[in-house]
Amino acid sequence: MAATRAVQRARNAHRTRGDTAYVVYVCVLVAAIAGIPVVRAIVLALATPTAMSALSEAGTERSIAVLGALIWSIALVVGSARGPVAPPPFVAATLSRSDISPRAAWARDLLGSALGMALVLVAISALAVSGFLAHAVAVGASISFVIGTVLFAVATTAIWLAGQVLGRRGAVILGSALALLLVAAVVIPLDPPLLPASALANLWPSTDGATSTAGAALVVLAATALAAVWAIVILLDRMLPTTVEDHAQRWEAMTVLAATGDISGALDRTRARPTVGRRVRIPFSRPLILALLQRAAIGAARTPLRIVVALVALAAAGVGWGWIAELQAGPRWVPAIGAGLLTFAAIGAFSDGFREAADMAGRPALYGRTAWTMLLLHVPLPLLAGVVVPVAAAMLSGSTVETAAIVATIGVALVAVRAYDATKGPMPIELMMPVPTPAGDASAIGMWAWQADALLWTGVVSFWLSTSSTSGPATLLWAAPVVALLAALTAGRLRRASS
């Protein structure tokens, strides 16, 4: 292994001191200009008395339990597209075809991925409890929650790896178990903490102080983490050479595309391939809009895991919106943006038709309609999924009609954002030109803004809607010009791509 690593190091260009200094400089600048103000704003918002009171309600614990179970389901799906073991293709080919055991070959890559994921989860959990810590309230419980998140991350790593290693049958069995866990997180009592997700929820601090079951919850999570480590060892040994090579090549292609600004092309590499339903007949009935709905729905059902996760995420977002609407005051925009991003991501599973229509632009005409018409004809499925599922979930969880109207509005707006995002194409070369400023090259700002524009739109739409619940349903009317603007921008992109 040491010799292989030495060859790998020799093949890679060494980073000079200047390179390292530049990376540090960029990180410090980004943290100072963008990171610290955002983090400070979130901490201050969470530290308001109303926010702390809202976060201490029982509903928060239930949301954490559901979110925890959802993260596991997502980890399984992500693992099938990009597992935690995705070394450079050269390393993948060399080590996977050698006599080195998979466990020894891939332990380091797995550890790197696990640490990265744990860091993200810990950062989110630390931010979530920052309001309590700012007032020195429930400090012990807050620390326990962060420790619990670390243990939870270990188990998440095992599921992520399972998504990569397990075949179709194993993934279906584990996926079904995780779906049951998700249902359990919604319906069973959180106390005592029998399940890992409910154990994590049990550790959530409140203004009353630590819960009596915190110790038991930590024991459940520690036991889960130990079992996960054992599972990781077994899963690593079962890793096939073709699996590593496949993930390695896909990941490298994705990073190259992402580095050149072709995010949609990069994401296309992760999109699930159909697994079931080959013999389910698509009627292609008339009119054409019905034929496209049938085609989109049956096509989507052929990647069942992806669709189930998306439906669950949409339902969770709907319930989340109901909870957000009930918050009397405080920083409701924080969870609102989270729910918006979740909705946006989930609608993506139903938006292949938008990508298909966008792909027509600039190519010889194959279909009997223009790219714009095809894009419009593809609207019904994402619209049904993005509106009906969250609205039904919100209503079933006891939300008012006003809240349901907000949920429906955000669904419509985010479908428009999805269509706009699908037509993005590769990054314009002008954005990659240097923009000299006294603080250095500012071209990265334009590139980031271009790459994240759909997320920025989602954030703005969610933020705005989170204010609508207090100022009355009439404010929902603003969504009409926003959707019209997005439609005009989408049409413009298609027109440019066709010329």
Binding site: R273, R278, G299, T303, D352, P364, Y367
Partner: protein, 216 residues
């Protein structure tokens, strides 16, 4: 072409130049209904560029392309309906089987389900890939993918057919099937221009030859 009659597709002294690089030297051609034209020339001569210009996907730097006497604007519904082309891989739906993709194409051109199904199966049988009808595109070899790309392009109705090296990755038998399919469309009155390196295909289709870089 008989005097006084308008050709189906004409290109008059078209060129494409980008940053002083000549992608297509001055070229003229005219195509009548039922006529085939093989576009020949070495790699980099401008064959694909010529097809892109004829398909309305790339503007000519100079010269003009006319469809039945009108300047070609591929965004016009009438022109889109008239010109079919396979220049590079067509857009494929990863979640549809081959027969479904063909039925989908036919549905967008107005076919009802039964007519679309019939046309889809004929397109597969014509190139002897009916046995692959239940496969997804990701389950095809490169040669099968080439045949299916041709089947998709041939499945849509058209009056002008433009193909870029349709013989790519095909064995002699399959090249013969492609030639048969093109001959059938010529008989139905379709005008065909195809870039090729295959002398056998040119002979089998019975087409005129235009060598890019030489005037007509």
């Amino acid at each position: 072409m008989s005097p006084g009659r308008t050709a189906l597709l004409t290109a008059s002294e078209v060129t494409v130049t980008v940053d002083e690089q000549i992608l297509l030297p001055i070229t003229s051609l005219s195509l009548d209904a039922g006529q085939a034209l093989a576009v020949r020339g070495p790699n980099g001569a401008g064959k694909t560029t010529l097809l892109r210009v004829l398909a309305g996907l790339m503007p000519a730097t100079s010269g003009s392309v006319m469809l039945e006497g009108d300047p070609l604007h591929i965004r016009r519904g009438r022109h889109r309906a008239a010109v079919a082309a396979m220049i590079g891989p067509p857009p494929l739906a990863r979640d549809l089987t081959l027969v479904e993709q063909l039925r989908f194409v036919r549905a967008t051109w107005g076919d009802d389900a039964a007519t679309g199904e019939r046309a889809a199966r004929m397109a597969l049988e014509e190139l002897e890939i009916a046995n692959l009808e239940m496969r997804y595109p990701s389950e095809l070899s490169s040669g099968q993918l080439q045949l299916f790309s041709l089947a998709l392009t041939l499945a849509r109705p058209c009056r002008v057919l433009l193909l870029d090296e349709p013989e790519q990755r095909l064995d002699a038998h399959r090249r013969g099937l492609v030639a048969d399919a093109l001959r059938r469309r010529l008989k139905d009155g379709c005008a065909i221009a195809f870039a090729t390196h295959s002398t056998a295909l040119v002979g089998a289709v019975g087409s005129d030859v235009l060598t890019v870089g030489e005037t007509e």
